[in-house]
């Protein structure tokens, strides 16, 4: 009897029999008719449920019940305060499905208004427009009261005060500076009306070369170095078709513009210049030498800046061998790299990197 008892104890403590003992306990303790015992089964099931909870990604993260995304998602609120600003708002203004090739090819937004008639520039595109339904895609850009950060929060609306330092609003009262040609506007019939402080207002009949939708350049005071503008800023023609913005140079070359944000775009021209369209309708052209010229919404030059020599710009240096920094109209700046890529830094601190192909970009952390 004692021997048998001791033998049983020895068996229990034998490593080879421990697993058999555990198996016996699991399958027989409380089990009626096979399988595992209910207590063992429920315990294992609860344990398995814990395991499952840990494998749930977003939902678990949000519920705080074992986030599959780990601390990164579970502590999202805290993490947010440690992170740089979120990426630029959505740019899919066309409302279509983005291509699924992993790269982002952005349909550019409508171009800034080019009101060459001298009237009040139209307002910016309605950020909420294009959101077809609640079940559809989220609006392409955040609504004004959206909690999302506004990327160009300091850009005034096009109908509001214009951030043009040295010219009055196109439709506002015109100051008199002496014998200067202050304004020209294209009339619907193709004629051109010129306003001069020292003379009467004159109207030039339309010609074959002056289509009604284009106005001759009217250099504003303080913009002596502005290049001639036959149809738009700097002689460029900026058109929109099917949600795509294109820039046509005076020699007829057409360059597709890249959307860089709500109502903003950029285009790298063949001559090395870089055109930046701003949300308020103004345009900035950065020459290869680093000098910049700003244009208002009517396509009129409003000011220029010499090359920033400290940043690497210089006169007579068309082919870039180093990056050139140029300020933009809205208070930000662009950096043109020798490889053709351009960094656009917005006034709110966000920045994007536009590839040389002009159709791919990504945010700069």
């Amino acid at each position: 009897m004692i021997v048998d008892y001791m033998s049983a104890i020895a068996t229990v403590f034998s490593m080879s029999e421990l697993s058999a003992l555990a198996r016996w306990c699991a399958t027989c303790a409380g089990s009626a008719g096979g399988g595992v015992g209910p207590v063992v089964g429920i315990g294992a099931g609860v344990a398995a449920g814990l395991g499952a909870a840990g494998g749930m990604a977003g939902a678990g993260a949000g519920a705080g019940a074992g986030a599959g995304a780990g601390a990164g998602a579970g502590a999202g609120t805290d993490a947010a305060s440690l992170l740089p600003p979120p990426p630029p708002p959505p740019l899919n203004l066309g409302g279509g499905s983005p291509p699924d090739d992993g790269m982002v090819h952005l349909p550019p937004p409508p171009p800034p208004p080019l009101d060459l008639t001298g009237g009040t520039p139209p307002s910016s595109a309605d950020p909420g427009a294009g959101n077809p339904s609640a079940d559809g895609p989220p609006p392409a850009t955040p609504a004004p009261d959206s909690p999302m950060p506004q990327r160009v929060g300091d850009t005034p609306p096009a109908n509001g005060p214009q951030p043009l330092s040295d010219i009055p609003p196109a439709s506002g009262p015109q100051p008199v500076y002496g014998n200067q040609q202050l304004g020209m506007s294209a009339n619907p019939d193709g004629s051109i009306t010129t306003t001069d402080s020292d003379g009467p207002t004159t109207t030039t009949p339309p010609t074959a070369d002056s289509p009604s939708d284009a106005a001759p350049e009217a250099p504003a005071a303080g913009a002596p170095s502005a290049p001639p503008s036959a149809t738009g800023p700097g002689g460029l023609t900026i058109t929109q078709s099917n949600g795509t913005t294109t820039v046509t140079t005076p020699d007829g070359t057409t360059v597709p513009a890249t959307s860089t944000g709500p109502d903003t775009y950029g285009a790298q021209l063949p001559d090395g210049s870089f055109v930046t369209g701003n949300a308020d309708g103004t345009t900035t052209i950065a020459a290869p030498d680093g000098s910049t010229t700003n244009y208002n919404a009517a396509g009129q030059a409003t000011g220029s800046a010499p090359p920033d020599l400290a940043a690497g710009g210089g006169v007579d240096a068309p082919p870039l061998h180093h990056s050139v920094t140029t300020p933009t109209e809205d208070g930000g700046f662009t950096i043109s790299h020798p490889d053709g890529t351009v960094d656009i830094h917005h006034p709110d601190g966000t920045a994007i990197h536009v590839e040389a192909d002009g159709s791919t970009w990504h945010p700069i952390p």
């Binding site: 555990a22 198996r23 399958t27 399988g35 595992v36 209910p38 207590v39 063992v40 089964g41 429920i42 294992a44 099931g45 609860v46 344990a47 398995a48 449920g49 814990l50 395991g51 499952a52 909870a53 840990g54 494998g55 749930m56 990604a57 977003g58 939902a59 993260a61 949000g62 519920a63 705080g64 599959g68 995304a69 780990g70 990164g72 579970g74 502590a75 999202g76 805290d78 993490a79 947010a80 992170l83 979120p86 990426p87 959505p90 740019l91 499905s97 090739d101 992993g102 982002v104 952005l106 895609p137 989220p138 609006p139 392409a140 609504a143 959206s146 909690p147 999302m148 990504h362 945010p363």
Partner: protein, 363 residues
Amino acid sequence: MPSRKLFLPSGLQLLSWVGLAIALATLAYTAPKLIEEGGGAGVVFGNLAQYSWTIALLLVAFTWTRTIGVRALIGAALGGFFGVSSLAVLIGKPFVERLGAQSVFVMTVFAPVTEELLKLLPVALFLLLAMRSRQFRPSIADAVLFGTTVACGMSMYENILYARGTDGGWLANLPFSPALPFLHMQGSMLVGGHVVYTALASLGLAVTILYGARVPLARYAFPVTLAVAIFEHMTVDRLVLIGSDELGWFARLSLLITLGGYLSTLLLVAGIAAVAVFETRLMRRGGAALPASLTMRDIIAGLRQSSRWASALQLQKRLRYESLRRSSILAVAQTAQSAPDASAMASVQRLYRSAQMTSGAAA
């Protein structure tokens, strides 16, 4: 206390891994005896192959919409295998002992109702926990996948107890059997079994919980699908109870209402197709404000690390990023927001950078 908050998910993750390890250890210990009781390795692994096949097909169908991973599914399968089965036995035991195993009430009312509700319990817990968040939400596909896996686990266990196979086959009940090989006939009725019934009820439950607040019609999804599942389960059990004798009016009426047992399978297949299309469209349209989605190119690129461990780590990070990205899109759709809120976007952005994704950016 940011440090405490940051520590908390890690602690839960550790607990989750420990739980999974306990369940797997229990399976390892009990497997030899269960295989022996279940009719041998051929029968048990045959069942396993059929259930795994359906889960694999669901994973493919929900490739673009699911947010849960393999770990959640393993936990669900083990939870169904051990937890739900044992709970059903424990709850039913007093009634069986008092009324007998062949009691009409136990067979056609008590067992179908309790089993269907118990199988839905893990899915309901999963969805209700997820509903606490407005930033990250699961998809309907997740719930269907989760519920299906729980039911597969329970069905496996039940078949072991009865030492039986599924009585189905890949070509036994066309056209559905290639995808649902466990389908079989009980007399003139097509039997979907635990898997079809729970998958359908899970789908309805997810539609109601996730979209019921936005779409009034969605609130009826769960009652309807649960009624269909329970009613078919009751009908099957009734047919088993009466054997090949005269069916009686109840069985005949049940067969008429359930279209000979095809109703649940038809609803499930149609529901899965609709959910896959609907949520895939959500994913394609709703990611405009977020970084680019994970592509096959990213996965392949992530595998080209210096070591296998580094590759696995990179892959895990990228899959985790994609899951969170999808969850944020789903949250927008389910809560009628216009876009993911700032903290959700920040979390997704953080994982995007952590995963060192190279393609695309904010779209």
